[in-house]
């Protein structure tokens, strides 16, 4: 099944290039250069992985990550950064990001992380479904 990915970065040319390469690798990519639009998309539809830039105008990646973890915890976030330090990456991991990639990204490494994100999301969704079924069975008297 094609991985459904949301790619968010304010560098338009970067987003266009990376999105095309990911699509050539069979992924279903939604690209976004405005962080607020990205959060609206997260609220409106489901993604297996969200590749998110750490520093953007208005809302930075850490704020966006907090919003996603709160509203759609099953979606896996991979943070991208042009920072040459790991400090923000550690903060992001503590806040629940699945992984952290430094720019320029290696497409093979990123693809591998996206596949892992999809698998992790599927497990989380299955667990949630199982919990719901158990809950229904325990409350219904059939």
């Amino acid at each position: 099944m094609a991985e459904k990915v949301l790619l968010v970065d304010d560098e338009k040319e970067f987003v266009e290039g990376l999105a095309e390469r990911m699509e050539l690798r069979g992924m279903n990519v939604t690209a976004c250069t405005n962080p607020q639009d990205a959060l609206d998309k997260v609220d409106a539809e489901g993604f297996d992985a969200i590749v998110l830039d750490l520093q953007m105008p208005g809302i930075d990646g850490i704020e966006a990550l907090k919003h996603i973890r709160k509203s759609r915890p099953e979606m896996q976030v991979i943070l991208l950064s042009g920072h040459a330090t790991v400090e923000k990456g550690i903060e992001a991991m503590k806040l629940g990001a699945m992984d952290f990639v430094e720019k320029p990204a290696d497409i093979n490494v990123l693809t591998d992380k996206i596949k892992k994100a999809q698998a992790k999301k599927m497990i989380l969704v299955e667990e949630k479904t199982e919990e719901k079924v158990k809950d229904i069975l325990s409350h219904k008297g059939w």
């Binding site: 970067f14 290039g17 390469r21 520093q55 105008p57 208005g58 042009g82 320029p104 990204a105």
Partner: protein, 209 residues
């Protein structure tokens, strides 16, 4: 052996802040070149498997790479000018040129704060001064002015010769500068041999060099 504390920690912090912003911009340039070169590689591999190559697409990709090389060259030129601003403690400076350089160096900060900064047209405004400390004063002033302007704010900068020196006005402030911010600006202005003032009636930050 005891550790030595730098005499001008503020200057060192400013140098670090600007260097970090430059490295961030260069990383973005490299990331775009990396993706475009990667696309060329992908297309070549696809062509080797018999898929037709679109020459127009290749030309467009090459142009994008050239555009990013040009952008990277501009960033490095600014970095070089900034690095050389510590060469002489006092020399003849063009305040308009210094201001334009600082605005370029703070592009990422302005974008993050969603503020537009524009330098109004005008002539050279030359005088004797310390280029590095002057840049630090303009940059700190703009940083606080951006905070005051707020999201979607617009700052306009007017630079003009005045009384054998230079006047620089930053308009578009929307809130008074905090007292500690003003005190910090005054301290840097003192080191730069300049004066700083805020006109609360018209929301203008003024530097006199």
């Amino acid at each position: 052996m005891g550790s030595t504390i730098p005499k001008d920690r503020d200057g060192l912090e400013f140098f670090g802040q600007i260097s970090a912003a430059i490295s961030h911009d260069l990383k973005n340039v490299l990331a775009i070149i990396n993706e475009d070169a990667g696309l060329l590689q992908d297309f070549s591999l696809m062509a080797a498997q018999g898929m037709e190559l679109d020459p127009a697409r290749l030309v467009k990709l090459a142009e994008k790479i050239q555009g990013q090389v040009k952008r990277g060259d501009g960033i490095i030129k600014n970095m070089n000018r900034f690095a050389h601003s510590v060469d002489l403690p006092v020399c003849e400076v063009d305040y308009r040129e210094l201001c334009a350089l600082v605005i370029s160096l703070l592009t990422r900060m302005a974008s993050r704060k969603c503020v537009t900064v524009s330098l109004k047209d005008g002539e050279q405004a030359k005088g004797k001064g310390d280029p590095f400390t002057t840049q630090m004063l303009i940059a700190k002033g703009l940083e606080y002015a951006m905070d005051s302007a707020g999201k979607d704010g617009e700052l306009g900068i007017d630079v003009a010769s005045a009384d054998g020196g230079c006047m620089m006005n930053v308009s578009g402030l929307n809130a008074p500068l905090p007292e500690d911010a003003l005190a910090e600006l005054e301290s840097i202005a003192d080191k730069a041999g300049a004066e700083v003032a805020v006109d609360p009636q018209v929301n203008i930050l003024n530097f006199k060099f």
